[in-house]
């Protein structure tokens, strides 16, 4: 394969220019990657917003008003970004994958319409009230608005994952001919919408959102506490985020392990790709894997890797207790997903997951000793960790989505058959380029907004801009708690 990384990047570039399929997949993958960050930001922040709003209205304490005001701004910015990136996605099924939309329309259209009507409207309408209605509605309605906004975010994920789970483990339909095309006809709604994958995906994704946002809140709080140790508000936000992480991070590991077994049951090919398991037979578990050469980055076979492995434990995990269990290998299939992407994404996600557990335990210990905000080392670690939740979430998503290739509907419709037949490579490439430019702009803007918000917050806490080190002293303007 020569020097594979560079070459394959060039090849991929040409393939994108020439092939509507590759360009469409890259476009969808790229837009969903950006969208998912903002969507999960809403999901994960929702409990914080509800809590801060409730405490603010209930206790009238300055610190909750401060935290509520800050995080509602972040939530609003994230929601706008989520909306503007989500609307193009809802059109891409039609523009880029119309065959998929037509084949699956009867199965996926309903849940997607519910997402818009039941969840998206709820979030958008009551966010308007939450952002601009403080003086126009009563306290109770105001708190209720925050609950409804959060409920909207969580319901949104529910309906979207119903669709995605159906694509992973499709049921409740039969193929019929309509207008000269083989399409899926709904036969059993309960089976179709409550697929075996649904509860796994929902819990894993919602918890991943909570972890990501707990890390973000902890990181921002740690930064502000590091600059301004006297702030009650941000000390309590940091404590809250660490406690939340202490619950959610270990849960994700336990849940993820069981989820993996479910994947082996329902999508053995994806499971084999996660472990780069080619030959059918007993499977080892690679705890750590490093490539011996650059080849192994693009094709991670066991002999290409330095690994720390537990022999036969792969079989044990896949089967739920049998060390000798046979695990189907990738060689059994005609077409496989890009194994390297799935294998390394999976390792990246799991590795980060364990890092989060470590950070949570460390933080929990410091909370227990009452020394959380004194440990500069911990504060710095949390600042550094603040974007890592999203890295884990994205790579987890890649395992799920790239891992099921070549299928868009598992066992039923291939991605290559789902792509528009009228789309030209030039059109698809042009729009791919457009989305890359626009969405890079969006991500940068979101980061700038967060930076400005933090800076403004520090200024209101009396920290001068030029001041690099920790700033002690009484906090200006605000009497009482803060």
């Amino acid at each position: 394969m020569g020097p594979p990384l560079l070459l394959s990047a060039v090849d991929l570039g040409w393939a994108a220019l020439l092939s509507p399929e590759i360009a469409s997949r890259m476009q969808f993958g790229w837009t969903i990657s950006v969208h998912i960050i903002f969507a999960s930001l809403s999901i994960g922040l929702a409990p914080f917003i509800v809590y801060f709003t409730w405490r603010d209205v209930r206790t009238n304490e300055q610190r909750y008003a401060r935290l509520r005001s800050f995080w509602v701004k972040v939530f609003a910015a994230g929601f706008v970004m989520g909306t503007v990136t989500g609307i193009p996605m809802s059109f891409q099924f039609g523009t880029n994958f119309p065959q998929f939309a037509e084949v699956a329309g009867e199965l996926i259209g309903g849940p997607l319409a519910f997402e818009a009507k039941m969840a998206f409207f709820l979030e958008a309408v009551f966010l308007g009230v939450l952002l601009y209605g403080r003086d126009r509605v009563g306290d109770r309605t105001y708190v209720l608005s925050s609950v409804l906004v959060g409920l909207g975010a969580w319901l949104s994920g529910f309906w979207i994952l119903i669709v995605n789970a159906w694509m992973q483990t499709p049921r409740g339909y039969e193929m019929v001919t309509r207008n000269g095309m083989e399409v899926a006809k709904l036969t059993d709604p309960v089976a179709a919408f409550l697929t075996p994958r649904m509860p796994w995906m929902y819990l894993h994704m919602m918890n991943a959102s909570v972890i990501s946002v707990a890390l973000l809140v902890a990181g921002v709080s740690a930064y502000i506490v590091w600059k301004r140790p006297e702030t009650d508000a941000w000390n309590s936000a940091l404590r809250l985020a660490v406690v939340l992480l202490l619950v959610s991070a270990p849960f994700q590991a336990v849940h993820g392990d069981a989820y993996g077994r479910h994947v082996e049951d329902t999508q053995p090919q994806k499971f084999a790709a996660m472990e780069a398991h080619y030959e059918t037979g007993q499977a080892d578990l690679h705890l750590l894997a490093f490539p011996k050469s650059t080849d192994a980055l693009t094709d991670p076979r066991a002999e290409n890797l330095f690994t720390v492995s537990l022999p036969a434990v792969g079989s044990y995990l896949a089967s739920g207790g049998d060390f000798g269990a046979e695990v189907v290998g990738l060689n059994e299939y005609e077409e496989n997903p890009p194994v390297a992407l799935v294998f390394w994404s999976f390792r990246f996600m799991v590795g980060l997951g364990f890092l989060f557990i470590g950070l949570a335990l460390w933080g929990g210990y410091l909370v227990y000793r009452g020394r959380l905000s004194d440990s500069t080392r911990y504060l710095k670690a949390m600042i550094a960790a603040s974007p890592l939740g999203y890295a884990a979430l994205l790579t987890g998503w890649y395992v799920t989505e790239i891992g099921r290739q070549p299928w868009v509907i598992q066992g039923e419709l291939k991605t290559s058959e789902a792509v528009s037949s009228t789309l030209t490579g030039a059109e698809a490439t042009l729009t791919l380029g457009g989305f890359v430019v626009v969405y890079v702009g969006l991500v940068l803007t979101a980061l700038y907004i967060l930076k400005w918000l933090v800076r403004e917050e520090l200024r209101s806490l009396g920290v001068r801009e030029s001041n690099e080190s920790r700033w002690h002293g009484p906090i200006p303007w605000v009497s009482g708690d803060d």
């Binding site: 609307i87 099924f93 523009t95 009867e106 259209g109 998206f120 308007g128 709904l186 059993d188």
Partner: protein, 331 residues
């Protein structure tokens, strides 16, 4: 089991496919009416340079635009749920138009939200460009998309549909703002509104005339029907009547009449389409619709939710009714 509760091989009511045709166009109509005046606000924003006026414009639509915008997603997903063939062909056939429209929406949505994040002249200028550009191109491209839906590839009718949607958006935007701002500004806004009304009505007449003369998309016969004539006559009456109300300073009544125009436009689209649903493919409503069980299910679960959504909107508009306060809304 749901399949015992719901008929599997027959629609709940015989006309359910037609009801869904109406429901999908209702969602489109809600979008064109509600986000239409948001677009109008964006375009009027471009020609007012006073910073205080601009802030007032942004405050007028700040709490509601997000909710208004969701109607386009409701429309798209309802179309997918009931008529997947139409959804997929319409978007695949009009690839660049459709993606151009959503990119315009991205800019329209971001501009005003980002503007307030930072107090810096250049930053404000760029976010204003995004807001204004998005507000012009979104209705233009959406109108062109509707034109392609109705008339296929015929250039002039498609362009005129786009321009028509821009004009009617300016009209509703002006009426909405006039009802919410102080009298001096409202009087200036009504001038734009009345101009847009005349441009819009003229545009519709020219558009339909062109379609009759060229038989674009084979729609000439449909245009020369009694219902179309009735809707056009009603539009002219409502448009002119609204202009008179505007002149007399009765801005709330003007707003109601102004919102009737995009509603009538959506009804016109429905009349021109029916009984086909995507004329370029010759597909009929009945042929394109999904199977009974699926449609029954989304009906039984979906219509109560739709009513709930309408109630949310009543609540939202109730909370933010009345003139814009000097400091805008809320925080």
């Amino acid at each position: 089991m749901t399949d015992q509760l719901l008929p599997v091989d027959a629609y709940l009511v015989e006309s359910l496919p037609e009801i869904w045709f109406g429901a999908v166009l209702f969602a489109l109509g809600m979008y064109v009416v509600l986000d239409g005046f948001d677009f109008g606000i964006g375009m009027l924003y471009a020609i007012r340079t006073d910073e205080r006026e601009r802030e007032a414009f942004l405050a007028a639509f700040g709490p509601i635009w997000d909710a208004n915008e969701v109607w386009i997603v409701a429309f798209g997903t309802m179309l997918l749920a009931a008529f997947p063939r139409v959804y997929s062909r319409l978007l695949a056939d009009n690839y660049l138009l459709a993606l151009g429209f959503v990119v315009a929406l991205v800019f329209r949505g971001l501009g005003p939200e980002l503007r307030e994040q930072r107090d810096d002249e250049r930053w404000k200028r760029y976010t204003d460009y995004a807001f204004i550009g998005g507000s012009v191109f979104a209705p233009l491209l959406l109108g062109m998309l509707a034109g392609r839906w109705l008339f296929g590839g015929a250039t002039l009718p498609v362009a005129l549909t786009g321009v028509g949607l821009v004009a009617v958006s300016i009209l509703t935007g002006a009426a909405f703002l006039a009802a919410k701002t102080e009298p001096g500004l409202a009087a200036e806004l009504r001038t734009y509104g009345i101009g847009a009304t005349l441009a819009y009505l003229g545009g519709v007449v020219v558009l339909l005339g062109t379609v009759v003369l060229t038989d674009a998309g084979g729609a000439a016969d449909a245009v020369l029907s009694l219902p179309v004539a009735a809707v056009v006559a009603l539009s002219v009456a409502v448009g002119l009547g609204g202009s008179v109300l505007a002149r007399r300073g009765r801005y709330r009544a003007w707003l109601v009449s102004a919102l009737a125009l995009p509603t009538l436009l959506t009804i016109l689209v429905a009349i021109l389409l029916y009984p086909t649903i995507y004329p370029p493919t010759g597909l009929l409503v009945r042929e394109a619709v999904v199977s009974p069980l699926a449609l029954n299910l989304v009906t039984v679960l979906g219509f109560p939710v739709l009513l709930l959504v309408l109630w949310y909107f009543k609540f939202l508009y109730g909370v933010f009714s009345g003139p814009i306060e000097s400091e805008g809304y809320g925080e």
